[in-house]
Structures are given as C-alpha cells and as structure tokens.
Symmetry: none
Subunit: 225 residues, 4 copies
Amino acid sequence: MATRRQPVENKRRIPRQARAAETVAAIVEAAAQILERGGLAAFTTNAVAERAGVSIGTLYQYFGDKNALLLALARQEMEAALAEIGRALQGEVDPSLEGRVRAMVRTMIHAFRGRQRARKAVVQAILAQGLGIELMAPVASFIAAAGAAVGSSPGSMLPALSREQLFILSRSALGAIRAAVLEEQPFLRSRGFEDELVRMVVAYLGAIIAAVPRDLGPDPGRTRV
Amino acid sequence: MATRRQPVENKRRIPRQARAAETVAAIVEAAAQILERGGLAAFTTNAVAERAGVSIGTLYQYFGDKNALLLALARQEMEAALAEIGRALQGEVDPSLEGRVRAMVRTMIHAFRGRQRARKAVVQAILAQGLGIELMAPVASFIAAAGAAVGSSPGSMLPALSREQLFILSRSALGAIRAAVLEEQPFLRSRGFEDELVRMVVAYLGAIIAAVPRDLGPDPGRTRV
Amino acid sequence: MATRRQPVENKRRIPRQARAAETVAAIVEAAAQILERGGLAAFTTNAVAERAGVSIGTLYQYFGDKNALLLALARQEMEAALAEIGRALQGEVDPSLEGRVRAMVRTMIHAFRGRQRARKAVVQAILAQGLGIELMAPVASFIAAAGAAVGSSPGSMLPALSREQLFILSRSALGAIRAAVLEEQPFLRSRGFEDELVRMVVAYLGAIIAAVPRDLGPDPGRTRV
Amino acid sequence: MATRRQPVENKRRIPRQARAAETVAAIVEAAAQILERGGLAAFTTNAVAERAGVSIGTLYQYFGDKNALLLALARQEMEAALAEIGRALQGEVDPSLEGRVRAMVRTMIHAFRGRQRARKAVVQAILAQGLGIELMAPVASFIAAAGAAVGSSPGSMLPALSREQLFILSRSALGAIRAAVLEEQPFLRSRGFEDELVRMVVAYLGAIIAAVPRDLGPDPGRTRV
DNA sequence: AATGAATGAGCCTTCATTCAT
DNA sequence: AATGAATGAAGGCTCATTCAT
C-alpha cells in the first residue's frame, strides 16, 4: 500500500454539523462501493473522493489518511454486525445455548450487508495493515460478555472462559467464515455451512463445560471480561 | 497494490543446472529474510535481489513477477509444514485421535521455522492477493486424506466428511492460529493455546461422529477424497 | 519503448483553468525541446517533466502515458501546419494550380517550426507506434477539400479524386519530404527540391485531368469529400 | 529500443562453413517470423534466438547487435526485391517507359514475400533507427542506372537526372507504398493503386523530359550515376 | 562454436498527500 | 469548508549484451 504514515486513528476533524456528517457518510459509502466493484486495487483515495462527489481535499478533511477511512468503514460494519447480533439474541425465540450460538453465527455470516467483495477487500486490507487486533477486540469483549451472561444464568454450567478459550471461540468460527469470504466459497451462505459452524462451537463449549470439574473450581486466575 | 498481472504461477525458466537451483534457493531464502526483518513494506524485488546477491534481472529470470516469488516462498513453507505433519503422524507414539490431532495442531503452530514475522507477512500478502485458495487446497486434501485414513481404520466411527466439514475442520483451527500470528498474540506457542485447539477439534470430530447414526449411514454423496 | 498499453488518446484530465493550460503547454514545449536536442533516446517522461519545470506526477495528470504526450505534440504541429497552409492558400498571390501546389509544398517542407530533429523524432515515434493513420487523416481530408474546391471552380478540369488518387497525392509528396527529413538530406529546404516536388504534383494532377475524358464523365462512384 | 551502441554494421564473424550459413539463415528467418507475428514489440534478441533454435550467445556470434540482425533482414529483402525488378525488366514484354515503370512499381508493392506485418515492422524499425539512408542507397543507384539506361537508349529524351529528381523519383512512389504498408491500407495490392502510382511516375518523368529543352542542354553538373 | 545464466542501467508509472487559493 | 493542481518518492520490470564454461 506504500503508506507513508500509519496512524491507527487519524481523524482530523469531528464533524459537528449535519452537512459534514452527510459528507462523511457519503465518503464511507463511496469507499464501500469502490471496494465492492473494483476490489482493493481500485481503492484509491482519489477514486473514493470522486465517487463521493467531493474533492480529494475534503476527504482528507475528515480522514487523516487512507487507513483511517478503511478503518472507519470496517468499524461501521463491525458495529452494525454486533448490534445486529445483540438484537438477534434479544428477540431470539430459542433461548437454548445452540439457539444463541446459531443466532450469532448466522449474523456473522451475513454481515456487511451482503457486500461480499467489499467485505473481502476490507478483511484483506485490515489484515494487511495488521489492524486485525483493533477490530477483533470489541468482538472478543462481546463474546466474553455473552459468555459471562450465559455462564451466570441459573442452570448454566459454563465457567468463566480463559484468554485462550475466548480467543479460539471468537477466531475459529470467524476465521472459518473469513476464509470462506476470502476464498469466495459458494457454500458461505448455505444452511449446511451454518449448521456445521454451530455444531463446532456448541461441541467446543460442551467440551469446556465437561472439563470444568476436573480442571478447576472457581478460579480467580480466569479472565472474566 | 496496483498489480497489473496476477499470474498465479509465473516462473519463467525452469532451472536445469545446479547453479541455477542454488540461485533460486538463494532468492527464496533472501525473500524470507527480508520479510522477517522488515515485513511486507521492505519486501521489494530490488531488496530481495540485493540480499540474495544476484542482480534484479536474475531474479526475474526465475520469477515472473513479485507475486510468483511470494507464492513460491509460501508454497515451500506450506509443503514443508505438511511434510512435517506427515512425519509427525508417522512417528507418533500416541495413535489415538487426540494424539493425531495434537500432532497436526502443534506442527501448524510451529510452522515456518519459527519465522513469525515472515509468516505473518506471507499470510498478509497471500490474503491480499486473494491467493488463499491455492495454498489451502493441499491442506484440505491432506486433511481429507488423513480423515479418510482414520475413518477407514477398524474401530473408527469417523464417517466420510462433507465439503463443509472439511472446510471448517481445516480453516477453523488454522484460522485461529493465523489470527494469533497476525495479531502477534503472545500465547501462540503456549501449551494452553495448543490444548484448547486440540480440544476444539476433538470436540467437533466427536460431535460429527455422534451425529452419524441419526443423520445417515454410509452415503455416496459424501466426499471421500 | 516497451509500451504496455497503446491508447491512441489518453488524456487524463481536461484542464479547466488557465494555470493548467499553461502547464500543459509547458510540457508539450518541453517535449519538443528534448526531442530536438537529444532525439528519441533522450525523450523520457522524467526528462520532459524536469525541463517543463513540473513534477512527473503533473505530467501524468495531463497525459495518460508517454505516447499521449508524443501524440499531442504531433497533433499540435500537424494542425499548425495545416492552418499555415490554409493561410497560405488564402493569401496566395498566385491563384494558379501551380501556385497553390507550391504554397502547400513549401509549407509542408518548413513545418514543425524548423525543428528538424524534433520533427524527425516525432515522425519516427509516430511510425513506430503505428499511429501514422491517425495523423494523416486530417491531411487527406484537407487535400480532398482543397481538391474539391479547385475542381468545382469555374474553369477547372479537375474531377473528383478517387481514394487511391487522394492517398497518393497526399503521401507521395509528403513521403518524399518525410524521407528527406528522416535521412537528414541537406537539400530539404533547397529551392530545387521544392521545384521538383511541385513539378511532380502538378504533372500528376495534369495526368489525372487529361485522363478524365477517356476514363469517365461525372461519376458518382468517385469520392467528392 | 534502448540500444546502447548503434554500429550500423556489426557482423562479428563471416560464416565460412555450410553449417554456419544455415544458422545465420535460420536466425534471419526467425526474425522475420517473430516480426510477422508479434510486430516490433515482440522482436527481442532472446525471442529470435529461441525461435531460431539457437542460444542467444550464438546469435551474437553472427550479429554484433540487434540492429545488425534487423539490417540483415532488411537488406536481404531489399536485395531480393531489386533482383526481382531486374528480372522483371529483363523479361518484360512491354518495353515502353510505362511498361518498365509498371514492372518496378508492381514489384515494390509485392515485396517482402507478402509478409506485410514483418515488412511494416522492419520499415518502422529502420526508420526509427535512422537507417533509412543505408537501405535506400541501392534503390537510388538502381533507379539511376535504370534511368541512365533508358536515357541513353536511341530515341529517348530522358536526360540525366538531378540529385533531387532521383530522390523524389525513388522516395515518392516508395513513400506512398510505404505509407500504405504502415497504415495497412486495404487497397495496397489493388490494381487501381498500382495504376495511379504508375500514372504519377510516368507523368513526372514526362514533365522532366518536357522541361529539358528550356532548362538545359547536356550539363556536367548533372549526376549520371 | 555454442551455451545460457547472469547482468544492471534506467524507464515508466502510481497514488497518498499537501497547500495555495 | 472546500477545491484540485501539484508533488515526488519509490517500485516493478525489460531486454540488450557479456562471459565463464
């Protein structure tokens, strides 16, 4: 990407007026469109500005550099996905563990509003920038919170999850989804794929629960995020 | 970015002589070193040629473009890892399912000869090029073969794996390892991380086996690669 | 020249402001100067940009590639020459056929503002690019128009010219001039050379006129551009 | 072409043995084929050597540089064309001026064994190298000789031709043919085109003859090559 | 005589970013 | 706040040519 600076966050100006907010939204939307159509190769700041209908200078008024724009898009979609999951969990008819897991998996599979190419490009770019951590942090928190909620519910046997367990829980399913996105696997949105992901996660959680008595009682060393 | 051609493989000349083979090896090794020290940003064809002690022209004699070199490095390491796994399975003292899984997981974790930065860079680049499929194909074949071997062993209950199961099996564990590499997680090489990955895979395999009687008997629709 | 693309015209941005127009003019002028001094070998985009006093990026802002710049220069000079011929025909004291022909020949000989090396380089490059047609089209049109004007004048015997006649008329004289330029013949600007060219063209026109009665009367098959 | 040296002639070794002569012929033929198929862009020394089935080193054994090879090809074809003209003039049934002119024109149109793309490429390259003079010299000599022969024949009125006349005579017709080749004009091999070229040349010669009495008597200043 | 691996100067081009208006 | 012309570092890549074997 030949970026000269790599400020993780680099917003120059917080938009305070309605017009400015619209401009920012237009730029982010333009970025998504460019990515969707032309992939990472077409994603140049000039191209985004042009499609957004603003000058390149205006783009830099709101996004300190190319990365900031990419990150903003990624964050926006990630937050939308998490919010979606939250809604799904809330309104879920099936309150069982499997029901909850399925709701989460399904939402993650269908994230990014169906813009697969854009999603792929964003994932590629995020990974290429080494910004994966940033974006995964909220996911981990979310899962930890969900896990804690489940674990603390009356009849649950789910213990507090270790750092490694949390990591694997969030990265394995998401990693598989991600791989399917990057490889453009046709079965990404199939029921079979979803079923297997759910099976894997549920099986893993089951194994964790089953291991509890042997491994430990309530342990202060465990992370309870 | 701005790649003009994307030939998956782009070797120009097959080295027929000992001297040429050495040159090729030197170039690939130089690439790994450059990547290890300076990451993707430092990975320029000129830099690689210089470190390899050959002219840029010589580099292009053997690698059609920058990508071909990257791919060659990735392939070499991937094959080395698979071979390593093969050896590990062969000489494994513990022939149990968990023993086998652990051998595979451990090898994947320690792949790329411990050059983590180089590994990260290669993964980033491969993903950014959308070349993930190419590299994962042999892994999937390998796992399918291993799965088939296990499944056909006398007392095994492991059925033939479906396409989706195969995918998830190979990508979830590898996806988690990959994420740990990209995020430079400190626990990557820890015993705890390995344990959890093994637990996840074993649990998933157990769930697959448990599901067989209900789902289906021997089914010709299943992939038995 | 190792050109990868061959877009006949490849202007990136239409200059809308006075400053931009000046920049473009400066670049084209610089190109002519570089060509005049160092020939085709010295004609590199970086050299042109430097002489023009702009950055290489600016050059590419207005000319999609090296070729586009070359073509722009060629077009500019070609159009200047045609305009010059137009003025010469207009103000010509000698309205005879020979007078007109001489005016045209003389202007073509002295085209390109006397910059013979630049002219040679441009011709070479244009031919090497296979772009000769593009540049000759307006000349053919011009000659056709002139021929038609002459032919339709009261006492003229000049018939409408066929495609082949038009072609030969425009290419033979110009071809001889071009050859003299490329071969750097010392007599290029001599009176004797001009005289002979005029003689050739006039003789050919005379032959065409003489042939009319035998060949055909007014014939709709003939091109009257 | 980025040539570093430009030795007009640069043969390294005169082949004295049959095998060597075959090799040289194979290389020249390969050059013609490469040119015919891929144009100037494909004409690299390595490509020619490969097609000729020899190593690049061998190519350089016989041709000092790329130019020498190009020139050799051009010469070979040019000489073939002149020889062809000679034969045509010899066996010509029509001994009139027009008959002779037509024989010459026709041969020039059909030169290069019908390999139009190769011819075009050679012309482009020759012009781009500024080697036009070299190749045209024999043509001029030939025409001068032919003119002298005609002029000295009993009833002929053709005077010795001046340098400029010779030049125009050879370059105008050939220039028109050349332009048709470069522009890939479809009528290149048409009867109409040939007719007009003949008409032009004959008309010009007629004008020269007609001018003799007024201009000069036998003049020592005239070139009688 | 032939081979072909190696050379390397240097070209074209991209695109993130700045700043005067 | 917005504009957009201008910047320029930097990188991928070509190909004629050499020379040790």
